[in-house]
């Protein structure tokens, strides 16, 4: 009994560490955006940040968020040409914005010099080192290109030849970095990959799984980024949490052989969510809940048959990939992509996701192999049980929290 309590405490600790980390809110990253127009050495910008982000700047004086952001940006943004600072042509001022956002307009005059303009953005980095700023720059009416400002890269030279192949390449490179940053920063995607890998033993199965997942998320990432499909992000976010819980539950079902009982229990839980929606009209829609219940029924039921399960691995991985791809797309489109940059952004971002995914899978795979061969870990089953239970809890935390708008 004492050991059971110890185990429960172990799950509790694992779970608490993950849920209380800032990344448990995987899609609440610290970020801001700006749109720049540079013509005849005059640079005008509209800076946008979430109100929540601006509260980080909260000072002792009780200024409004608009005033707070204006004061911050006056010192945080500077424009120069040939190493000479450009002067402000008009005072930075707040402009109307959507609910939950603050927008500020700034303008700089760089005089008559002919050199390339250099823009330095230092906003929010002193209060959030992981902050990312996406700036869309349009030079002399040309299609705009996006520049990424991070804690390490706070300055960019805006050249007069934006539409060259080197810029196309730069653009892809930037989005590769954004893709890598997204997958490493999105603990839900990592948790899902970990859950998928826990029981995989053969390299062939791994290849099928990775291929299916990549195919699936590439399809929906492209469809949503190009605007051909507009997913309901709340459902997507909840479904991502659900996939983690489902795969973790499947791991335990495979280990225990109690597929039938676990399937019934899981489907009953989902039907309860459907019922709650039908009675009180809250949370995940009844149709979505029914869809998930049907999928769970088929997925867990089939996992009882090892042969069938192995044959369907590619298909199920594609389905999981389709759901996660919409999540990736929301991160990409949130950056306010310029239309001219859509293709390099899509290619770069997907490549970044793949690179990050390969690194995560390789590390987890090696760790799992090491654990199985280790003399120090005598009960590998216990480790898999514990990790699966923690992942199931984490997946349900996201699924329930996001379904009911709690987190």
């Amino acid at each position: 009994m004492v050991k059971l309590i110890q185990l429960t405490v172990a799950i509790l600790l694992t779970f608490s560490v993950i849920t209380t980390s800032s990344q448990a809110h995987a899609h609440n990253r610290s970020q801001s955006f700006s749109d720049w127009e540079i013509t005849d050495n005059i640079a005008t910008a509209v800076f946008t940040a979430k109100s929540r982000e601006v509260t980080r700047l909260q000072s002792q004086t009780n200024q409004s968020l608009d005033t707070l952001l204006v004061s911050h940006l006056i010192s945080a943004i500077s424009v120069s040409q040939d190493n000479l600072p450009c002067s402000s042509t008009e005072v930075a001022r707040p402009i109307p914005s959507a609910l939950g956002y603050v927008r500020v307009r700034l303008a700089f005059d760089c005089g008559a010099s002919l050199g390339d303009i250099s823009i330095s953005i230092n906003s929010f980095f002193n209060v959030a080192s992981s902050h990312v700023h996406y700036a869309n720059m349009s030079l002399n009416g040309e299609p705009s290109y996006q520049y990424l400002f991070t804690n390490k890269q706070r300055q960019h030279e805006i050249t007069n030849q934006l539409a060259t192949s080197s810029h196309w390449f730069d653009s892809i490179t930037q989005f590769v970095l954004i893709g890598i940053e997204h997958i490493f920063g999105g603990i839900d995607h990592i948790a899902f990959l970990l859950a998928l890998l826990l029981l995989l033993r053969s390299l062939k199965a791994l290849v099928w799984m990775v291929t299916g997942f990549t195919l699936g998320h590439s399809i929906t990432l492209a469809l949503a980024t190009l605007g051909w499909v507009i997913p309901d992000l709340d459902i997507v976010e909840a479904a991502i949490g659900f996939t983690i819980a489902l795969v973790a539950v499947q791991n335990i079902a495979v280990l225990t052989g109690k597929h039938r009982q676990i399937t019934y229990f899981s489907v009953a839980g989902l039907l309860l969510i459907v019922l709650i929606n039908l009675i009180w009209n809250i949370g995940l829609s009844a149709l979505s809940g029914l869809g998930l219940a049907l999928f769970t029924l088929a997925y867990l039921w089939n996992s009882a048959d090892e042969y069938l399960s192995a044959n369907l691995r590619l298909l199920t991985s594609v389905i999981f990939g389709l759901i996660h791809g919409f999540g990736f797309a929301s991160a990409l489109t949130e950056t306010g992509l310029a239309s001219a940059q859509l293709l390099p952004a899509l290619l770069g971002f997907n490549l970044g996701i793949e690179l990050g995914q390969i690194v995560i899978i390789a590390v987890v795979w090696v760790l799992l192999q090491q654990m199985r061969q280790s003399r120090f870990i005598t009960d590998t089953r216990l480790v898999i049980d514990l990790v699966s239970a923690a992942l199931c809890g984490l997946g349900l935390y996201w699924f329930i929290g996001r379904s009911y708008g709690i987190i």
Binding site: N62, V91, I252, T256, L386, S388
Partner: protein, 163 residues
């Protein structure tokens, strides 16, 4: 096979799965992130509308100034209660369409918005009538840009009809 817990290995797996699941649901339902991580940008919700920490701190500071002493726990509850009541009244007014139907409410709201834009401009750029007028003009211009305005009759016809 019996595990070290006196349970079979399968029972242990299922027990852990149930513990993990219950924990996940409980943690989500109690939203510990807000309290555990110190992320307290929202202090209360009134019918899905947040009362932000900044708004609360501002009200508390004003209250302390009036009282001329630091606010205690009772004062803090009072201030938050006041903000909640205020929000309830605002929601009632919005639902009843007071801003659209009540001329007095409409005029006072407009004046407050105009004052707020101008005072923000003064706070940022110092006391300068020209810059605050410019800020106001810019603000309205942005509203026009973002709005969809459709004239059903050309302005000249409307003018003639009025004459």
């Amino acid at each position: 096979m019996k595990s070290t817990l006196g349970l079979t290995t399968n029972q242990r797996s299922l027990t852990l799965l149930i513990c993990g699941s219950i924990l996940g649901i409980l943690v989500a339902a109690s939203d510990p992130y807000v309290s555990v991580s110190g992320d307290t940008t929202v202090v209360a919700w009134v019918n899905d509308t947040a009362i932000g920490k900044a708004q609360y701190s501002q009200a508390l500071a004003l209250y302390s100034q009036e009282k001329r002493s630091p606010a205690n726990a009772k004062d803090r509850t009072l201030v938050l209660d006041r903000l909640i009541e205020e929000e309830l009244l605002v929601q009632k007014a919005v639902n009843d369409g007071a801003l659209r139907n009540n001329l007095s409410v409409r005029q006072r709201t407009l004046q407050t918005i105009l004052d707020s834009i101008q005072s923000d401009a003064v706070a940022t750029n110092g006391s300068n009538t020209e810059s605050s007028d410019k800020a106001l003009e810019g603000y309205i211009e942005q509203l026009r840009i973002n709005a969809t305005i459709e004239w059903l009759s050309p302005p000249s016809i409307v003018k003639q009809a009025r004459q």
